[in-house]
């Protein structure tokens, strides 16, 4: 699908130098599932970054990093780093567009240097679809009827992509929305899992993620889920790769268990945010 219909873009003659790399015997294109599994896991069931298959990467969360935004959050999950800024509620841009319920506008963007292959500075189709998925997930969590005729903007910028960006974006966005005092039913926690023929890897890194170009064997797939732990509802579900319903059930179980474990961490971050806000307000009052 043409990306930018107004500007004529000449043919792209630049290509990544990694294509000139010498392909050794372990070339990923010709890899069978068994070898792929050996590449990712050794005989002690330990992954390349020393994690167990059901261990997620350590999570780091911080709010209030964008001073101009109503609410903002920063998440680091291993090497995946992203920032979310929330603006609003404010008037809808086009007056003719207002609805009785509030509207959510999400923009998901990869920084051009965030992935191994340079990304365009304008949103491409993949980012547009991810923005749509994020919006649908957050619409389930945000109390839209609390700000009629208004819009809330959620902007996600991925600074470094090392696997599972959508999952991190879901958690980061709901943390930013909560810190912006937007009324919500529940927090959305995102999680991703990689399916291999006989194993499931929670929170895959970029190398562990399923790539559509590489492996076409059965029972190889990627699942990203957005889960609301208190309400026990799934608000985002994206699955790519070949699988069958029984396996999908297993993957869903692992992911929802992880989300329940992460919920207290996100809540703790929010609690600290509120304490900081109250403390700074207290100082302002004293100064006056």
């Amino acid at each position: 699908m043409p990306v930018d219909s107004r500007r004529l873009q000449g043919p792209e003659s630049a290509f990544s130098y990694t294509l000139l790399e010498k392909k050794d015997a372990n070339a990923e294109e010709s890899i069978l599932s068994a070898d792929l599994q050996k590449m990712l896991i050794d005989s002690n069931h330990v992954r390349k970054d020393k994690r167990k298959p059901t261990d997620a990467r350590p999570l780091f969360l911080r709010t209030g990093i964008i001073s101009q935004a109503k609410g903002s959050a920063y998440i680091e999950q291993g090497n995946t780093k992203l920032v979310c800024g929330v603006y609003g509620p404010r008037e809808v841009q086009k007056k003719s567009d207002f609805r009785l319920n509030g509207q959510l506008f999400c923009e998901f963007k990869f920084a051009p240097f965030s992935c191994q292959k340079r990304r365009s500075h304008q949103q491409d189709n993949e980012e547009l679809v991810l923005s749509g998925l994020l919006r649908e997930a957050l619409e389930a969590a945000v109390c839209l009827h609390h700000f009629p005729k208004a819009q809330v903007e959620v902007n996600i910028m991925v600074i470094e992509n090392d696997g599972s960006p959508l999952a991190a974006a879901l958690t980061c966005a709901s943390l930013a929305l909560a810190s912006a005092s937007i009324p919500m039913y529940d927090l959305v926690i995102g999680a991703a899992v990689r399916q291999l023929p006989k194993l499931l890897l929670l929170d895959p890194t970029k190398d562990e993620e399923w790539q559509p170009k590489l492996n076409h064997d059965e029972n190889n797939s990627n699942l990203t889920v957005g889960f609301m732990p208190s309400m026990q509802q799934i608000c985002a579900y994206v699955h790519e790769g070949v699988s069958n319903p029984e396996e999908l059930e297993q993957m869903l179980k692992i992911v929802t268990e992880y989300c329940l474990k992460v919920q207290p961490v996100v809540q703790l971050c929010l609690k600290e945010t509120v304490e900081k806000m109250l403390a700074s307000e207290g100082e302002n009052n004293d100064a006056e």
Binding site: M1, F15, L19, N125, E126, L128, V129, G132, L133, E136, E139, A140, A141, P212, K213, H216, E218, S221, M228, M231, Q232, Q233, I234, C235, A236, Y237, V238, H239, E240, G241, V242, S243, N244, P245, L248, E249, L252, K253, T256
Partner: protein, 290 residues
């Protein structure tokens, strides 16, 4: 989808019907509306099909062209999808209104075709690293009557089934300029194996039950659903949750199980009908007269 205005009473009517497994048009929850399918309508395309699922009308044209393969995949051809929501389909698609939906359908189709061995792309290679076939699949949505994902996927599968790719021979290398020779016989073509091409199944959740092939009114009553890409062997190649509502994990799991069974049946029936149409030979093209 079109803005359908439903009163509370109408919504309640639909809800109660779904509970009793009797929808407004008399179908059961897992029943499809009548489908009219015809292939080979567009003479300038290598493969084409028109599929009408009750009020949803989709026309697909496949054009094959020669191009250089992607640098990461020198031994494979590729499929490029393009979805165009015509402004005729529904008033919302006027101007750039249909772009978001078109983009989503396009992207989901791409994803479901890339997973698994749906089409053997190495068959599309002409000269390794230099020339390959690119199949441009252009989907035109003429009328929107609910359940676009399913309609589009069935039409695309039919169009790919009938696509004829001319046979090209590589003549002897002259220095380093290989010459491509197109066969003189216009009927000397090859076809793709579309056995494993996925069909999309949309399931919308209304109350405690889910429906297959929702009408626009039913889509309006429902807050969430899933679109599942099912290949011929009951395998799921892509799933996406649609709508602004949320789903309980157990409902989601049972929806996926149902989708894979429904998808397998739809695939089988479609292949059977396409084979029937092919063996029936050249008959009068009905086209848009019906």
């Amino acid at each position: 989808m079109a803005e359908i205005l439903l009163s509370e009473a109408e919504k309640a009517f639909i809800h109660h019907g779904v509970q009793d497994d009797l929808r407004c048009d008399g179908r059961t929850r897992l029943g499809y509306r009548p489908i009219i399918l015809e292939t080979g309508l567009v003479s300038n395309a290598s493969g084409s099909s028109r599929l009408r699922l009750a009020n949803s009308d989709v026309l697909v044209g496949v054009k094959v062209e020669l191009a250089s393969p992607l640098s990461e995949k020198p031994l494979e051809g590729r499929l490029e999808f393009f979805v165009d929501c015509s402004a005729n389909a529904t008033p919302e698609f006027e101007g750039r209104g249909g772009e978001d939906l078109a983009n989503e359908i396009c992207r989901f189709l791409q994803m479901s075709y890339m997973s698994g061995d749906t089409i053997n792309l190495s068959e599309l290679s002409v000269l390794a690293g230099q020339q390959c076939w690119v199949l441009y699949v252009d989907i035109l949505i003429l009328e929107c009557g609910g359940n676009l994902y399913d309609t589009v996927s069935l039409a695309v599968k039919s169009a790919l089934y009938t696509t004829q790719i001319p046979s090209i021979k590589v003549a002897t290398m002259d220095g380093d300029q290989p010459e491509l020779e197109l066969s003189e016989d216009p009927y000397d073509t090859k076809r793709l194996n579309t056995q494993n091409v996925p069909c999309l199944v949309t399931l919308m959740k209304i109350g405690n039950h889910y429906l297959v092939d929702p009408t626009p009114e039913e889509e309006c009553c429902s807050s969430s659903g899933v679109v599942v890409a099912v290949s011929g062997s009951k395998k799921i190649t892509a799933v996406r949750k649609i709508g602004s509502g949320s789903l309980h994990p157990e409902s989601l799991v049972s929806m996926l199980k149902t989708a894979s069974e429904v998808g397998a049946v739809v695939n089988k029936i479609l292949m059977k009908k396409l084979l029937e149409e092919e063996t029936a030979g050249k008959t009068q093209k009905v086209g848009f007269m019906r």
